[in-house]
Each structure stands twice: as structure tokens, then as C-alpha cells.
Subunit: 315 residues, 2 copies
């Protein structure tokens, strides 16, 4: 089975490699590509049975009403908040997203950022470039034997736990549900408020929900151990920025973040003032392997749907 | 039991923390400290029953002849080549060194250096400091699923294997002797010349011996896989520098080293020219924990000797 007509909205040519465009085109009679705000979208909905959207592209009830043949919406992102999934469900339209493609990328980056900090890697490289080959003045520490806390043990949190166990850390986690398979490997379950004051390393791996928004509130922020290193590779909405700034001002902990692209210039400016706040571009989820997996899942979702066993369905 | 008189030679005040000097002084009636080349050494040997030496301090047969009461020589280093251990043995003098104190420090640094490179961490930090919060242009890769080779599976190589297994790498090693306990965890034994061309990551963890000197010769250097990352936290005598420079000039692999302090200015200059040679000061073995362990082992060796169960004896 094939689609009759694929309409892509807001998916640039470079979003997929040529080999994936080729595989995708084998799944349909024809394909029309339109930018996100094209006035031609409505007209092209009339005979499209497949819509593919990029990150943040809206598909609402009216769009679906204008697309009587529509049976599949594929989102080239994890977030699908702009798709009216309830209306799609009512109309028996399958909506699939892509999830989990960057699990390994993010988990490994957490250690890249921690190790850079505790081993003074940037300083080491710079010093050697300047011709100074002395180890004097380096104050490094190790991960082994330290308490490594993880808040949120989804796929990224679980991989983070496994890697931390490989380093020989005392891994403790809190999550909405217990994860026996990670506990079997050596991670210990502990209530967040009991865990936070113990951690030498603390990784935030919650999905952003009403329950996790500002989870790191003022009370928890002040409870973090002196000298601890906190890494947030999740959205900064998990953190009370005012509380973070107050704690950073004490100079007795380090906060590392990479969702800088989603922050306001004001918040970035406030945090950048503090040398103990290490800010990265959003590079935790960016690897060659993640990019490949993203495309593979996206096209694979379409293939699975056409074979009658849809995958990664969100509605 | 206590020592009568400890003579320290070439151990600076700052080599041990005050708490370790205190513990040490509880082990003897008195202590005399002399610098490495002091003319007073010979006179003080007469009644010393314990000599403690810093790195590279010579204690030869004549010194021992001048120290009729000597029963213990403690070396505050792993290397003890300047001590005439055969003469010491003949005179029933115990020689203890300190080994293994930096195992974890070095193994963790190997991953710090690899992750810095494959995640472009230095570039990320710099870019964010300059106010650029875009992930565009980053070309990162992951450790998981890659072939991670280790040459030399002593204590550091073994810990490197364990950490790499935590990252989900396909870990392969070659060593003089097989290590069933690491194989049980998932590492695979493979002949060096079969292993080298397969590795995406290759860590040199040999001790320097006649057999391992210039182990990475021209043939092996040219056999390294395109795109591979080679990390040497061991002495550069393991590597044929001419061969390395020829391979670096091809621009298709990365070599990371940290024993820069032991290299000639000429060799450093030759290698620094190549952007794909990443040079660090000798910081792999430097951590707070390693420094503590070093002192602990040094004083612990003395305590064990006095209790009649000498440890870390090298003769």
C-alpha cells in the first residue's frame, strides 16, 4: 500500500538526507512540499492523505476538515503540541511522532559536561596550546564513589544511570515509577527530597509536565550539597531561575545547562554573570547517530503505518 | 613497634598533607628531612633505620653500607629505578613503592578527553560565552556501539574497559595475559594487529617496557582506522613519533596525549603543528582522590611494615 499524496509542511530539504527522501518517495504517488506559512496549504489539503510536519507546525480541526482523505500525520519532532490530536483521533487519523532518537546522545553529553568541569579540560587544552605543560594548579576530582543522583528515570535517565554505574558512582534516583531493571544493575531508589542534599552530581532528566515545572524550587535549590554539580539537559522550566540565581551567588555549587536556546535573553544574562553556571548551546541531543535515528524513525513510522502496524502513535 | 629515626630525602613539605606528616611522626622517635643533594645525607644514614625518598632519589649500595640500621625504604612514587633493590634485598631491607593510586583518575580522564573531542565541548562553551546559542555546525558522535580497543589491560586498562562497557561500546583488548574477570563483563580478547584496524577508539594503557617501547610503530600507525581517536595517557615512548607525524599529516585520525611534560620541545613542536593532535598537560593522573590515595598508601606501607605485614614490596 502507498499514500496517494504526501503534503510536507515546514520540512526543509536539509531536514532529511537524500536517501531518506528517496525511501519516503517510494511510499507515495506524489509529494508536495510547502513552507510553514504558505497560503497554498489549504488548497493542497484537499487530496492529501498524508501530512508530514516539522517542529512547531500547527494542524488544527479546520485543516483536518479541509483534508477529507487524510489518514496519517507524521511529526518530524518529539513535541506534537501543535497537532489537534483529539480531533485527529475522532476522524481516525493516526498521528506519529519521533521519540527516543537522542537518548544516547543526551546521556553521553551529561558525562562530557561533567568530566569537562571536574577535570578542567578546557583549561588543560588552552594551557598546553600556550606551551605550558605543567599539571600544577589543577584541582580535579573523580566520579567513582561519589553520590550520583538522577531525577526522572525515563530513557535518558536510565542510560545516564547505566553510564554512572560504569564509572563506579553510588547511583540514586527518584522517578514517578520505580524501575526494577535499573535497580537490578545497582541504582537505588530514594525520595527526591532525601536524595537532593546527598548528591555530588545531580542530573535533571524529567519530562516537562505540570508536576515537574519548577521542580527545583527554592527549597530544593538551597538543599543542594555544597560543591555539588547539577546538570540540566532538560528544559529550564524545571528550574526556578530566581532560586537558581540566589544559589549560584553563594558560589558553592555548579549548574550546567544546555537548553540555552529556549531561554529569554534576560535569564541568560542573569545566569551568565555567574562563573559557576556553565552554559552550552543545545548540543546534548545533537549527534550523527541521533540525526540518523531521527530520520530512520520518521520514515519507519510511515512504512509501519502503511503495513498496518503503526508505530509511535500519540493519539 | 616504631622506627628509631626516619630520614627523608627529597620529599618537600608540601608533598604530604599535615595530617599525613602527623601520622608519619607517630611511627618514629624522630625525623630528619634533607633535600635530594644535601651533603649531610651520608652522616645522617649512620643511625637511620627508615629512609623515605621522593621521585628519582638514588639509594645505592654505598648508601646502604653507610646505614647499618636500615630496614625500610619507602618510595613516594611508583617508579623505584634509582633504588638498588637487589642490594637492599641482600641486606634484608624492605623497599615499598606506591602503585595504583591514580588508576581511577587516569581511566576517567580518558573519557573526559574522548568526550571533549567527540562532543566539541570546548567549542560549545566558547560559543555560548560569545552569546551564540545555536547547535548548528556541531558534528558530534557517540561512544555506544563503537569499537573501543584497549592495549594493555593492567589496572588502568581494566577500569577503562569497565567504563567503556557502561557506555555500551564494543570493548576489545589485547594484553600480555588474558583477563577473564573483564571478559566476563563483556570485553573481548583480540590480537593487537587484528584489533587496531577495527577501533573507533583506541586507548594505550601499556606499562613502558622493552616489549612495549614504540609498540605503535609505523605499520600499526598506518593500520589505524580512518576517523579513529587514539588516546595515550601512558609515556610517549610507546609511540614512534615519526610514524605518528606521518599519519597525523593525512588528517584522517585524532591523537590525544597527556605526557607532554616528558617530551622534547622538538617533538612537541612537530606534533602541535597538527590540529588533529590534541595535547594536554600531564593531568590524567591528577585528582584530589589520587593525591589522597598516594599519601595514604605511602604512610600505610610504613604502618604495615611495622606491624610485620609489609605491603607494596618491590624487592
Amino acid at each position: 500500500m502507498k499514500f496517494g499524496k504526501i503534503l510536507t509542511i515546514g520540512i526543509g530539504e536539509s531536514s532529511l538526507g537524500p536517501e531518506y527522501w528517496k525511501r519516503l518517495d517510494m511510499l507515495a504517488e506524489r509529494r508536495v512540499n510547502l513552507p510553514k506559512d504558505s497560503p497554498d496549504i489549504r488548497a493542497h489539503l484537499a487530496d492529501a492523505d498524508c501530512i508530514l510536519t516539522g517542529f512547531g507546525v500547527k494542524v488544527d480541526k479546520a485543516d483536518m476538515a479541509a483534508a477529507p482523505r487524510l489518514k496519517y500525520i507524521g511529526v518530524l519532532a518529539t513535541a506534537y503540541g501543535k497537532i489537534d490530536v483529539a480531533s485527529a483521533k475522532a476522524k481516525r487519523i493516526t498521528v506519529s511522532n519521533i521519540a527516543g532518537y537522542s537518548t544516547e546522545a543526551v546521556a553521553e553529553f551529561i558525562f562530557a559536561a561533567i568530566l569537562e568541569h571536574i577535570r578542567e579540560v578546557e583549561k588543560g587544552k588552552r594551557q598546553a596550546r600556550e606551551g605550558n605543560y605543567s599539571e600544577s594548579g589543577f584541582n580535579a576530582t573523580e566520579i567513582r564513589g561519589k553520590t550520583f543522583g538522577i531525577l526522572g528515570l525515563g530513557s535518558i535517565g536510565s542510560r545516564t544511570a547505566e553510564i554512572a554505574l560504569g564509572f563506579g558512582a553510588d547511583v540514586r534516583y527518584w522517578s514517578r515509577t520505580r524501575k526494577p531493571e535499573i535497580e537490578a544493575k545497582g541504582a537505588v531508589y530514594e525520595a527526591a527530597d532525601s536524595l537532593i542534599p546527598k548528591c555530588d552530581f545531580l542530573s535533571l532528566n524529567f519530562a516537562l509536565t505540570k508536576e515537574t515545572e519548577k521542580f527545583l524550587n527554592d527549597k530544593r535549590m538551597q538543599a543542594i550539597k555544597r560543591g555539588a554539580i547539577v546538570v540540566n539537559t532538560a528544559p529550564m522550566e524545571l528550574v526556578d531561575i530566581d532560586a537558581l540565581e540566589r544559589r549560584l551567588a553563594k558560589g558553592d555549587m555548579t549548574f550546567i545547562l544546555d537548553h540555552s536556546d529556549e531561554m529569554t535573553p534576560e535569564d541568560l544574562k542573569r545566569l551568565s554573570k555567574h562563573a559557576n553556571c556553565v552554559i552550552y548551546p543545545p548540543i546534548a541531543y545533537v549527534t550523527k547517530e541521533a540525526r540518523m535515528a531521527k530520520q530512520e524513525i520518521f520514515v519507519g513510522n510511515m512504512e509501519s503505518f502503511l503495513k498496518g502496524s503503526p508505530k509511535n502513535v500519540v493519539n
